[in-house]
Symmetry: C2
Subunit: 564 residues, 2 copies
């Protein structure tokens, strides 16, 4: 009689193979089977946009180990002792008898295997707009290896001139870059008022300003209809009536957990449409685990369930479920803080923790600040970073950070993700001890400088105003004195043109008589990044001006058109 | 009667101007004076090697604000309302009467000013070898703006062919790069057995292997004598008798706190030779603060006093002292974890927290592990990172991390520095939520993978052996079975050649009969980075082999010569 544990994993993309491999390392003699509906296994699906965009040409690099061995059925059998059945669809889970029915999609043959432990890694399926013409040729997602092959062929064929990307989230933005690099003119359509919904509004608008140098953007309108001729896409019609001529449309409206198999088996699912799991990654059936894009996971800060379909979390969850399936629950997965990042041409966009809106919704007393400064010294070609930091006002606890710009966003977000992981406060961050040398950072790292500004704000020394609020005041013709504290040469090259008065910081003490006589009048101080703006504000407050604000992030964080 | 607070800052490099500027922001009406013995102010001294190396040509960039305004006396007066006296040496502190004597080094005139609060930022002075010939022309340090100008001129003049760098620490290594880029042949002389003493030995040797492709290295020998002709350096003679012909020698043996003024004034100094301060940065005289390279500061992990002459800490300490001097102690500086980083050509070297040796000395039960893996996927041109992680074995608390390689070391060290700041454990790090997308990291970031290996080691699943120990066993002809688990093609291109047997991981289950009959025999498993080595070891242990070890970091962390 065979007493080896039988572990079945349904799903062969990221979380599934990771779970299977970890289970193998925990139990050399378990019978481990992966059922994978696609032809490929363990695809680096986050790499699809870079394959499409021509960052590399060898498709197998998406499917290979670092030493170039393709992770196919043979690889799993030989190197891992895992039987991976590809082109094999799991059709039914019989929980009572602990077995899974499946169908070979090539031969049509059906089969059935027993399990002791089952791991669901069924992933997610792309959301599609429920409109006319969705079946036209020329409409695709970028979700599967097949999609990647399709779009890569379009790049290589060089026939298509215009494309529409539907959805301005991470995948939409990455796809935009890929197709633009293929020489295609892109229009991004986003139903919400901004791209990259995980970003706070002001930052999203700054990113949009950059992307507009590479692609067209239409926000606030969805797709009404796909228009075609002879079965081929020729245009996308928007809800606002606009028709955009195009030969290709990539739908990137996000994904929904693929839970039909679990639901049919009576496994508990949540309000967000994902499979519910505990910290062991166990579903409502203790012999069945679930991992990756098909589950709901816990946001560690807000304690709310969230959908977090990220490749890194899929791997970490897979590792936990694989170990637990093999060992009867020895490790836990604590949840996510929803850290994410994407590259869009020479710009980087990252986020971790809660947005200001999410933080308020979760019941926090929230304070936030925007900081703009370079990542490195000018003499080392430092590049701009703009960070919005979100904290609990009463305790200073860091709740979230968003960072954008051409600079090293990845390190900034890693720093804030770790600060949140360690439950650190703004005060803690003001004296963080980070690696400094001019090729890597400023002497006071951007993250630490952001904490300094936040600390000043919490202590009431820095009264900030956001670009949006200032623009509104200007548009309403409110009675303001706007002080630009830069030098005349800088002012000649670039300026807001919203009625500001130029008094360089270095002349301010001598030219206080040019300030309003009424010391209670609202004064807004600014400069390029609002460092001098802040010093000007502090100076004025010391001289009795009572209503002085600093434009947060300065001209660099002004997302409206400038005079110059 | 003038009731404005009088604040004097002695020292105008990094910590001093920062303290003065912060004091100004806290108190617009204080009388703030900087006494600076040099001609320049607020020099970005960490940038000197990059000016010398030709990364930029405009000397003023080292002295300017981000918008290009030189931070000279006029700048401090106008923009900050601070009187900066340059070329002015503070000669005596009269604590009883609270005044400082000074001397104008250009005119010889003496002066005296009163203080309410005094901030000492007297910095450090370079250590020099007490040997014959130290005064010859052609011997310099790279500590002052004058040194930087001198070496930059040597670069521009293109006359000098050979130079010796004395000292293989951070500055020595950065200077080596700068001078090599100037077309000069370099020999580095280090008295200790390794370069970069803050690195653990194995990692230092890997860095040395890289640097040897650019410069000559002599470790384990110091300078006995400088040899000259007509007052000019012609050679350096080592303690081991070797004579190295050269026209230039840069002494980079580290720095010692500059405390003569403080000592003379009876201010308390410590065993390490620095001024002692409390968390407010106050010296034994409560009206006198001290900051930057002249002080001893606290290592937060070991609680021991340390010398930490880093530019970033100088700035942070200056900020704290400036605020406290202006406000009667409202903020604290918690200490350092001695995070540092340097660039050497295309290689990066970083450290944070304790080394294994320091951790043991501080009384910890220490466990450490070495991990080698790329920073990004192969298809995004990932580059190698090698990390040594140090933790408390009983609690898993992270104590230190060192990271080297051509990959993104800066982000890795920032992550570990934050982990230490947050008192995180290895278990915490196994599920860290870091920003993942292929342009920025692997799906499982190098830092998280390192935590996974450490967790396996703590749980007894991963029995590691270091290159040094394995080499010793091989040299002693110990009875070992060394298993290389890579593919034959890889083995042809690169291999250790220490008697290893090649059995690819994918064949291992079928070829177990080629393993030693004695299941207690010592087996060492390895591959390029020891991922497959680890899988092979786990497999063998499951098949009853009792003494299986994994070569930590694999071939990539082998610092001895290889057969291929």
């Amino acid at each position: 009689m065979n007493t080896h544990k039988k572990i079945i994993v349904i799903g062969g993309s990221a979380a599934g193979p990771k779970a299977a491999s970890k289970a193998r390392r925990m139990d050399e003699f378990a019978e481990i089977t992966i059922l994978q509906k696609d032809n490929d296994l363990s695809m680096a699906s986050c790499g699809f946009p870079y394959y499409v965009g021509g960052f590399f040409d060898d498709r197998n690099m998406l499917l290979s180990t670092p030493t170039g061995v393709v992770r196919d059925q043979k690889f799993y059998l030989n190197a891992k002792g895992i039987q991976a059945k590809t082109n094999t669809l799991a059709t039914f889970i019989d929980r009572k008898n602990k077995r899974v029915d499946y169908k070979d999609l090539e031969t049509g043959k059906k089969g059935r295997i027993d399990y002791d432990k089952l791991i669901l890694a069924t992933g997610a399926k792309p959301k599609l707009p429920p409109v006319e013409g969705i079946d036209l040729e020329g409409i695709t997602t970028l979700q599967s290896m097949r999609d990647a092959d399709y779009l890569r062929k379009i790049r290589d064929d060089k026939q298509i001139k215009k494309a529409v990307v539907i959805g301005g989230g991470l995948i939409g933005i990455e796809t935009t870059e890929a197709l633009q690099l293929a020489g295609i003119e892109i229009t991004i359509i986003e139903m919400l008022p901004q791209l990259l919904n995980f970003l706070d509004y002001e930052l999203a608008k700054l990113v949009e300003n950059y992307i507009k140098t590479k692609a067209n953007i239409i926000t606030g309108s969805g797709v009404a209809k796909f228009i075609g001729e002879n079965g081929k896409l020729t245009a996308v019609k928007l809800q606002n009536g606009t028709e955009i001529h195009c030969e290709l449309a990539v739908v990137a409206m996000g994904v929904a957990p693929n839970i039909s198999l679990a639901k049919e088996a009576g496994i508990q699912t949540g309000e967000l449409g994902g499979i519910l799991v505990n910290d062991f990654m166990q579903t409502s059936d203790p012999d069945i685990y679930a991992v990756g894009d098909c589950i709901e996971t816990k946001n560690i800060i807000s304690h709310a369930n969230v959908l977090a379909p990220y490749g890194d979390l899929a791997n970490l969850q897979g590792r936990v479920a694989g170990e637990n399936a093999a060992t009867e629950n020895s490790v836990i997965y604590p949840g996510t803080i929803q850290t994410g990042i994407c590259k869009v041409f020479d710009y980087h966009v990252g986020a971790t923790g809660l947005s200001e809106h999410m933080a308020k919704t979760a019941g926090n007393d929230v304070i936030s600040v925007i900081n703009a400064s370079p990542d490195k010294p000018g003499f080392m070609q430092g590049k701009l970073l703009i960070t919005k930091l979100i904290a609990q006002k009463s305790t200073g606890r860091i709740l979230g950070a968003k960072c954008i710009g051409p600079g090293d966003v990845s390190k900034q977000i890693a720093i804030w993700a770790m600060a949140i992981k360690g439950n650190l406060t703004v005060d803690d961050m003001t004296n963080a001890d980070l690696p400094y040398a001019p090729p890597f950072s400023l002497a006071i790292d951007h993250s630490i400088a952001t904490a300094h500004i936040m600390q000043n704000k919490i202590k009431g020394r820095f009264n900030g105003i956001r670009a949006t609020e200032l623009k509104q005041k200007v548009d309403n013709n409110e009675d303001l004195f706007i002080l630009d504290a830069r030098g005349p040469d800088e002012y000649e090259v670039m300026r807001l043109g919203i009625g500001e008065t130029l008094i360089p910081l270095g002349k301010l003490r001598q030219r206080l008589d040019e300030l309003p006589k009424d010391k209670n009048k609202e004064i807004i101080a600014l400069c390029k990044i609002s460092l001098r703006g802040y010093e000007a504000a502090v100076l004025l407050m010391a001289h009795g001006y009572t209503n002085v604000k600093v434009l947060e992030g300065g001209i660099m964080a002004w997302h409206f058109p400038r005079e110059k």
